[in-house]
Amino acid sequence: MNELASFIGTAFASGTVLAVAGLGLLINERAGVINLGAEGLMLVSAVTGFAVAAGTGSSWLAFAAGAAAAALVAACFGWLVIWLNANQYATGLAVTLFGTGFSAFVGVSYVGRKLDLPLNHSVPVLGDIPFLGVALFRQHPLVYLALALALLLSWFFWRTRTGLIVRAIGESPDSAHALGYRVRLIRLAAVVAGGALCGVAGTFLSVAYTPLWVERMTAGRGWIALALTVFATWRPGRLLLGAYLFGGVNVLQLTLQAQGVQIPAPFMSMSPYLATIAVLCIISSNPAWIRLNMPASLGRPFFPSQ
């Protein structure tokens, strides 16, 4: 029983990185901008967060710095893509390459360094409940924030006026522009906010999840988050489901191995991706649903008529 509880706890932690990065990308894409630079943003924030944590010993400062660094890079990306109308896909890839190289370069002196941060977290009373405590209440604060964030974004996009405007800009920027909304500024705000969230996810990786810095430590999670956003048809709830499913299956195949169950090697590596794609495709297979949820202007440049 205790093993199951530990398994659930580990799955939650594993899925949180993807969930937070995915929610950031969701904000981007709902506004109509696709940011393929997620991996680069996460790496830049990981190295910045680690550097600040190593220098100041404060976890909160590290998260703030990481988010700020990623937001800065995202802002440059936003300027290129929204004002100069560069191709969003190519620019996103460029951000990834830049982020990977820049973080490796800056991070050289931080390899092999240790952080002095508490490793274990527990919610005061709830963390001691026999089964549920171990399963749910011994996580880093960000895990709970991810859940809160998903609820917040659901409420924001579907229950507030501002959220409606952002979605409108994602569907038809020309109409929104005709109504007088500042399309480019709002898109930039979405890109920066999304970038900041990717930054939080990246910092979580290097400061809390595996507290160390090495080059390329995100190991492709930015790409997975991008795919998750699409497969979840841009809805926060399904995104969370996909993220925890991915994390869960990942931990599951490792746990099954530790129990001695024989699984062929390639299948082990494939299983998280397969499971997530399968589930999300099935629950979102209605073509009407997809049409309803996909931001119609995703990836297309917007030229305010002059």
């Binding site: 490793l119 090495v214 530790a258």
Partner: protein
């Protein structure tokens, strides 16, 4: 200024800046497209230093495998000073691109090239055939030729010593091993670890998890966590980062450093580090070339030769276990490589080594079984 002229100016500025930066840089990264490499500045005439190059499969910053090799390279620079000029290329993927990088290094005048991963084997064999007057050294491979030498550490020796410590320190009699890829070298390490533990604690079991990568810190963390969730309280890994050790620290369990001294990363969890001293070999190899005594071989370095070691044993280890480690170490210095001494049974119960028998080099090189006491299978297809 229009958008177009702004973009033009930015592009020109970026081009200028990158040309200046490339002209000043000394280190190379493998480039994605075959752009022409910038011409290096001409060397002033003086006795030509021997040019030696290393290719690494991962980043120097991994604090593990590649980091240890780079320390070896720096050892060469420290010992030979002006007589040698070293360079390295990191993050070289194993495969077709490796061949291009090796040929590039030969074209730059390097007379001896070290390839530090098993997967570079085919590329090294191919290029060695084309350049008979350049020396090639391949780590952990098994193919040699007149100008291609293979070198390997007896990694299983410190793994065995770690096993002794693990067997003595475990309270649940369950150990955990985070393994990379199913090749004989890794199986040797798993078996040596288990045999070492069983030599002091016959009831011990080792749970095994494969992550199919040499370096992936988040996955290593998850694998370690899965093992701990299943009851393992002492872990060893043969993957390249400190993630497993740090996960053990987080959960209040024990673990070891691998490839380099990782004691600083986990003050409570660290029991000892299995260390590699590549500078011992690299200075010998460079010395061979300078003295013109280089010949091909399959070199193995163990504790006896100073190629690896088990260091920084924690104060938490009781005295009787320490003594056993010292005795085993001395035995391995006197009998290099004799970790697998019969009787040994594999997982199915079949006896693979009879009492009194010792595994020979062939058996070790082709090891494809796991000893009794290891819980986990070898993935059937790689």
């Amino acid at each position: 200024m229009t958008t177009r002229s702004l973009l033009n100016t930015l592009a020109a500025g970026a081009l200028l800046a990158s040309t200046v930066l490339f002209g000043c840089s000394k280190k190379e990264e493998p480039k994605p497209e075959p752009a022409a490499a910038p011409a290096p500045a001409p060397e002033p005439p003086k006795p030509e230093p021997l040019k030696a190059a290393w290719i690494y499969v991962g980043p120097v910053g991994d604090a593990g495998w590649t980091f240890a090799h780079d320390l070896g390279r720096k050892g060469v620079e420290a010992k030979f000073g002006d007589k040698v000029k070293t360079s390295y290329v990191e993050n070289v993927p194993e495969g077709a691109d490796a061949e291009r990088v090796i040929r590039d290094l030969v074209a730059q005048g390097n007379k001896i090239i070290f390839a530090t991963s098993f997967g570079f084997m085919d590329s090294m064999v191919k290029v060695a055939k084309d350049f008979p007057d350049v020396y090639f050294e391949h780590a952990t491979g098994y193919q040699t030729s007149p100008n291609l030498r293979v070198y390997e550490g007896r990694f299983y020796e410190p793994a065995y010593l770690a096993g002794i410590v693990a067997g003595g320190m475990t309270k649940t009699n369950t150990l955990g091993f985070v393994a990379s890829v199913p090749i004989p070298e890794v199986l040797r390490n798993i078996n040596a670890f288990t045999l070492g533990a069983q030599s002091v604690n016959p009831k011990v079991k080792t749970k095994l998890v494969w992550i199919n990568a040499w370096f992936d810190p988040p996955k290593e963390t998850e694998a370690a966590q899965a093992l701990i969730n299943q009851g393992a309280d002492v872990l060893l890994q043969n993957t390249d980062s400190t993630a497993v050790l740090q996960t053990a620290e987080k959960n209040g369990k024990y673990a070891f450093g691998w490839d380099s001294d990782m004691s600083a990363f986990a003050p409570k969890a660290h029991l000892g580090s299995c260390l590699l001293h590549w500078d011992v070999y690299y200075t010998k190899a460079i010395g061979d070339v300078l003295d013109k005594t280089w010949k091909t071989d399959m070199v193995k370095l163990g504790i006896k030769e100073g190629g690896n070691d088990f260091v920084k044993m924690s104060d938490a280890i009781p005295e009787n276990i320490r003594k056993k480690v010292e005795e085993a170490k001395q035995y391995l210095i006197d009998h290099p490589g004799e970790v697998y001494r019969g009787p040994i049974k594999d997982q199915s119960g079949k006896e693979v080594l009879a009492k009194g028998q010792v595994a020979d080099e062939k058996m070790k090189a082709e090891m494809n079984f796991l000893v009794k006491g290891v819980e986990g299978k070898i993935p059937t297809s790689k």
